[in-house]
Amino acid sequence: MEKLKYALFTGCTAKESTPEQMMSTMAVANKLGIELIELTEASCCGASHLQDYDDFLSLVLNARNIAYAEKHGLTMVTICNTCQLNTAMTKHRLDHNAELKAKVNEKLGEVGLEYKGTSQITHFLYAIIDDFGLDKIKEMVVKPLSQFNIAPFYGCHNIRPSELQNESHKGHENPYRPTSLDDLIIACGGVSVDYVEKNKCCGFHAELQAPRTAAILTGNAVAGAMDANADWMVTPCPLCHLKLDTQTHHASVAIGREVSLPVLHMQQMVGLALGCSSEELGLKHHVTAVDFI
């Protein structure tokens, strides 16, 4: 197989509050022989909030990020569900609205850039499942996760709205019954745990303005995984990770029950199965200790 090569849009958290996510992405890409060209020029995607203030500005900035992936002639890979949503949504809107695309390109032209619509956008989860292949990952597992019940937590913005699934997972993921993360857990030798909250919201985006709502959603998610006998949770989204890893105290108070589970990034889980060390995967950067390693 030809070596897989992508333009990596890291997003902001990978550079700040979830350094372990950046470390584990690079470690896994290295193990799988995937080449990631980091888009160092990329700006913040606006995280689904900037658009509430200034939708057009949000579109221009996201189109600029995509334009840099297009310059490399590569598919853009995201490692954050919300980056994936904002970038794929921008692409979807511009590709279906010539007038809007022209308006955005008029602005990008001022800095010598153009959005063409030639690069696909996919989350790293789908890149390794769809492009690299689950069977090949399975063959490369050196330390299967067979002793663990693992609760997948999908994160809204990878699975909804489903119209964007065609941009990222070739339309395979159904938001009501997603399978990608379960399949990946099984490929890594683990036992995937089924529970109601696995495709529900963690509350991250309302954490400041609606703290009680956000905390209850986090609490419900962790409680659901605990009640299904999960040893730990895994998520492809660093924002879900922040919520589930660092906010369990507030969540426990909000739902009146002590809840806490170690939460791994999807890349960390794959990295463990492929034999990466806990240092390479940044496991010490978790607030809820990853105490089973």
Binding site: E41, D54, L61, H157, R177
Partner: protein
Amino acid sequence: MGTHKITTQDVTFKVFRFNADEDYLPYYKEYKMEVTSEEVVLDILNRIKWDHDGSFSYRRSCRHGICGACAIKVNGRSTLACKESMNDMIELFGNEITLEPLSIKRAIKDMIIDKKDFWDKHAQVQPFLVSEIDENPEAEHLVSPHEVENLLDADLCIQCGACHYACPVVEINEDFIGPAAFAAAYRFEADVRDEAGTSRISEVNELSQGIWDCVKCFECAEACPKEVNPIEKITKLHNIAFAKGVASSNVATRHAVGFKHSIVKHGLLDEGELVRYSEGNIGVLKHVPVAIKMFSKGKIVLPWNMPKADKLDEIKKLVKSSSTAKF
């Protein structure tokens, strides 16, 4: 023309049963049926009533996706029973199908719920055209096709409640107006004939009940059987709240605006500064305990170490030339 073959499958239905007049607790009753590929979910509800138990209760009327009466949940998924193909449901969920009312805690009898909260929220947003009508008009008030397009199909809502009861915030926060009523608010805010001024947008701009408490999960967009896409309208309402000057300075509005401040300075989001700017210098203190834990794990970048995007000048230039909103 190819021939269309009707196939059948055995399905076990687990059906929510409850009669508030007789039962303390709800229970689930199983019905095994042969389901044909032509049937919709409403056909199953009818067969339970007609073939198994005449007391089984649900709302239905038009059978054509117009009246909005028959919305229920199929394996937790909000569904308009008369539109949803059983074949698709079996393909998605397998041969064990659970039928429940839209909201279990509002159940009155079987699939029938008390939708009072839904209608109250709907009424709360002035879901009508506010306009001084000239009793003796001399000409029609024409609305151009382009102006109608701006409603973004918000007028297609049939008030079935599928999105409202799929919304996790509605489930938790009883003040939250909810996606259906927000879509209705947008439908009239976007109408060029409307003269509500700031009264409607102020109602949906209030913290706790309004648009700022949306968690952005997109459950409403998935649930809607008419593709109204309520969350798209919620974003529009945010934009209108800023445009009409109703979005006054508070934690929620500063949280949206704060992204722009960070981007123009670093290209990237300054996470710590966003929290400080949103919460204010006093409000931010409640985040200190978590921040200390995060700092000890290397999860906080100090201001002087804040990374910057390459070609920041380019980003600054675009922010300057492409900004369309004021705060």
